[in-house]
Amino acid sequence: MSTDTRQFGDLATQLVMESRRSSQTDALLKYNDSLVRSLLREQRDLERAAEALEAGMNEFQGPPPALLIIQTAISRNKRCLLAYHSHRIDRLRDLYWAVGGALPHILNNQDTRSKLSPHEVDYLRQYNSSVMEFRSEFSHELDITASITNAPKDLHVLVHVVRDCGVIQTELGSIDFQKGQRFMVRRADIEHLIVQGYLEEVS
């Protein structure tokens, strides 16, 4: 068995340790595709070993201990794989809401993008579609992607342009936001630009 020199669960532990490191440093790490693939290979090996033991079983004796142990190892690997992916997805959802649902902002950031697996990108896209669909049902009354950390005191806000963001539609018409300028605009129109860092609220 190829698992002789390495103990059961070693690869799985390595993967879960990455999740822990990610939590401790509060950072998204690069998707560890090679480790995941190694784990999946180990699963295949274990499955084959289990099937061999099963085939050799005598119906009166019940499963040999080795079979139950191998099954336990398979479940352990599965749990670690699921936990790793689930942990990453949680972080991605938090990231999504932190930028007010501005998906392009996340995906166009090369640094972030390089850390995601293709499946994770797909997940974000689908998640975004669902959120947008849900949000559109009551967008007249409430914008669920607006910031909730600071309760707005006013309908309007004075903003300072930190980075060029081009022409944006507001209640006053189209405004070309250029770096260094200031505008008094309706908060709802440009909230997402504050969240993404293009505009800064002047208090």
Binding site: T3, Q7, T13, R20, P65, L68, A73, C80, L82, S86
Partner: protein, 194 residues
């Protein structure tokens, strides 16, 4: 166990090893715990991670010893004064005493399990007040290790916190800090009503 399934802390806690004394021969599994023989022989002892030990103990192929962090010596010390024990010293780096305790408790039979559960709960309750109290006191000073003087009892207590208690400490500290900030700055300078 179900709500812990995805928990990274619970998964890593189950990597802790416990001493298993085998009662039967286990063919082909001699490599477990680092052995070099082909089979595990009866009466042999191996250090097995908890996640694997479950099935071994449940199937009655081996008995296990309650690990040192929950020994009678520790139990008695906690009964006498729960705040006197440095929980962080009992378990390895990054492991939690409470998380490990719960994991082991799940493996014990009813009577021992209930005993273990009571020990964990009583200890937690006995220490919690001091954890939160110190956290709020140090909200201003802002570091887990600072304040209280070198080698003082409060400092020793803080250093002995297990990982769960540490998390609570940090949360309480942060909470007290924000509260203070809100009183002082407030929305529109609201004054503190005494």
């Amino acid at each position: 166990m179900d709500n812990d399934y995805f928990s990274i802390d619970a998964i890593l806690a189950e990597n802790q090893k416990i001493q298993c004394k085998f009662k039967q021969r286990i063919p082909e599994m001699g490599h477990l715990g680092g052995g070099s023989e082909r089979d595990i022989l009866p009466l042999s002892k191996r250090q097995i991670p908890i996640w694997l030990a479950y099935i071994i103990v449940y199937s009655d192929w081996a008995d296990f010893d309650i690990p040192q962090p929950f020994s009678n010596k520790v139990r008695n010390a906690l009964r006498a004064e729960p705040r006197s024990v440095r929980l962080s010293n009992l378990v390895g780096a990054g492991a939690g005493w409470y998380v490990l305790g719960k994991t082991i408790m799940d493996m014990l039979g009813d009577e021992q399990g209930v005993e273990m559960s009571e020990m964990l709960i009583t200890t937690f309750k006995g220490r919690l007040v001091d954890v939160i109290d110190q956290a709020q006191h140090f909200a201003v000073l802002g570091s887990v290790g600072g304040g209280g003087g070198v080698d003082s009892a409060p400092q020793m207590f803080r250093e002995g916190l297990d990982t769960t208690e540490r998390e609570l400490f940090v949360l309480a500290q942060e909470s007290a800090r924000r509260m203070k900030k809100w009183y002082e700055e407030g929305s529109g300078g609201a004054k503190r009503v005494l």
